[in-house]
Amino acid sequence: MDFIAVVGRFFLGFLATSGRIAIFAGEGLGHCVRPPFYFRLIGRQMMDIGYYSLPVVGLTALFTGMVLALQSYTGFSRFNAESAIATVVVLSVTRELAPVLAGLMIAGRVGAAMAAEIGTMRVTEQIDALTTLSTNPVKYLVVPRLLAAILMLPACVFVADIIGVLGGYLVSTTKLGFNPAVYIKNTIQYLEVIDVISGLIKAAVFGFLIALMGCYHGYNSRGGAQGVGSATTNAVVSSSILILAANYLLTEAFF
């Protein structure tokens, strides 16, 4: 019966952790709407999360758009549907690939940094020091990151949408022999506002998940360098999985 005990323990541990994360999220969101507001810190996080992620997000989107054009050409040319490529590229990029891939890249870049920074502050007692200086650590550390991530992920994804479509356009017009004007017309013709909006909403949710996991794991790290290291790993792994799971749920909601 050992096996059942192990499964049971794992399940209980999972529920307990979920509960702790939910309480942490509730506390963080509660502090988002109550003063004082640290605008300077929010601004700095927006730079870190948004602006400095643009190169990696842009490159990811560019190559994804390029590959997408080639791959759909392989398939669609078999039943003479090449004219659909532009539509396939723009829909895949805006609805799906830009938010998910940008989310995963930013989870690796930003989520890890958040967990490491807050985790180091925890183990060197800087979080305790904040408390003794009458500053709520959740408000000071967690709220700026949550807000900045929720705001900046959609901005990054919007840029990724444009660059991804551009990648598809470049490959289609230079390698696949499409007429530029026709490609652009096809891109715009069947695109609806909701396609872009749904991608941006996904991005905002992913931003929330990335910041939540980065902050939660950093905030609760224990022990020295090793504790911070595992907090970093856990932040990236858990936010990546949550992004993929949330992506399914959101896609179904917008279906």
């Binding site: 180091t120 060197t124 007692e125 020091a129 408390t131 200086l133 009458s134």
Partner: protein, 259 residues
């Protein structure tokens, strides 16, 4: 005549980590304007005790009253109000390494007293001068300082808001003897001039004799002796005697195996 309410009053304070009992029924009163020094062996629970007092660690049992107000189990809003009375020097410094030195020192001025940043910067420079740091240091980052300089910046941060109660966890450890004495004088000035109540942990008996009005010794989770500083040499307590003479022979046995 009834005695004035003590500034800090601790009764029956207990704290364990897992099966390890660290504080086992601490009773201690600290009057306003007093400078109490806590001595005791390494690992005897001194840091845990002051973290309980300031509310960073919650006790398993017992009572801690600040100005007669019970703080154990207090709600967050009252806790925040009480926290403004405190300043604390952490044993490890705990400087914010993402902020330059002057912002570390000015932090409490800005958050607790709403001082404008420019004014807070000027005030930070004054406090840094009081701990013997040159004005250039204000613009450096904590990682660019020596260990002793970091300690002094932490000290400056703890006293910058002129709190009513200041907790010093080993303020002179890691400083040269001359700078150590400068810090002793600074702590005395905080108590005498600003009327603060100081609770200091130290292993340095010379410093303890200088800054204390009273000394308390903690051993095995209890206060085994306390009294005015003048009486520490004739305490008649073998534990205290062993500690102040720093002798390996005596009732306190360190758990070490000889090589």
């Amino acid at each position: 005549m009834a005695e004035a309410t003590p500034k800090i009053s601790i009764r029956g304070l207990r704290k364990s980590f897992g099966r390890k009992v660290v504080l086992d029924g601490i009773d201690l009163d600290i009057r306003a304007g007093e400078s109490l020094v806590i001595i005791g062996g390494s690992g005897s629970g001194k840091t845990v005790l002051i973290k309980n007092v300031i509310g960073l660690v919650s006790p398993d049992d017992g009572s801690i009253k600040i100005d007669g107000e019970e703080t154990v189990g207090m709600n967050a809003r009252d806790r925040a109000r009480i926290m403004k009375k405190f300043g604390m020097l952490f044993q490890g410094g705990a400087l914010f390494d993402s902020l330059p030195v002057w912002e570390n020192v000015a932090f409490g001025l800005v958050t607790e007293q709403g001082v404008r940043r420019t004014d807070a910067k000027a005030r930070a420079a004054e406090v840094l001068a009081a701990v013997g740091l040159a004005p250039e240091v204000a613009e450096l980052w904590p990682a660019e300082l020596s260990g002793g300089m970091q300690k002094r910046v932490s000290l400056a941060r703890a006293i910058a808001t002129e709190p009513e109660i200041i907790l010093f966890d080993e303020p002179t450890t890691g400083l040269d003897p001359i700078m150590g004495d400068v810090i002793n004088d600074l702590i005395i000035a905080c108590v005498r001039k600003l009327g603060a109540t100081a609770l200091t942990i130290t292993h340095d008996m010379q410093s303890a004799r200088k800054i204390a009005t009273r000394i308390a010794m903690i051993h095995r989770g209890r206060i085994i002796w306390h009294g005015p500083v003048a009486e520490v040499d004739r305490s008649g307590n073998p534990f205290v005697e062993q500690f102040i003479y720093g002798s390996a022979e005596g009732p306190i046995q360190m758990e070490v195996r000889r090589l």
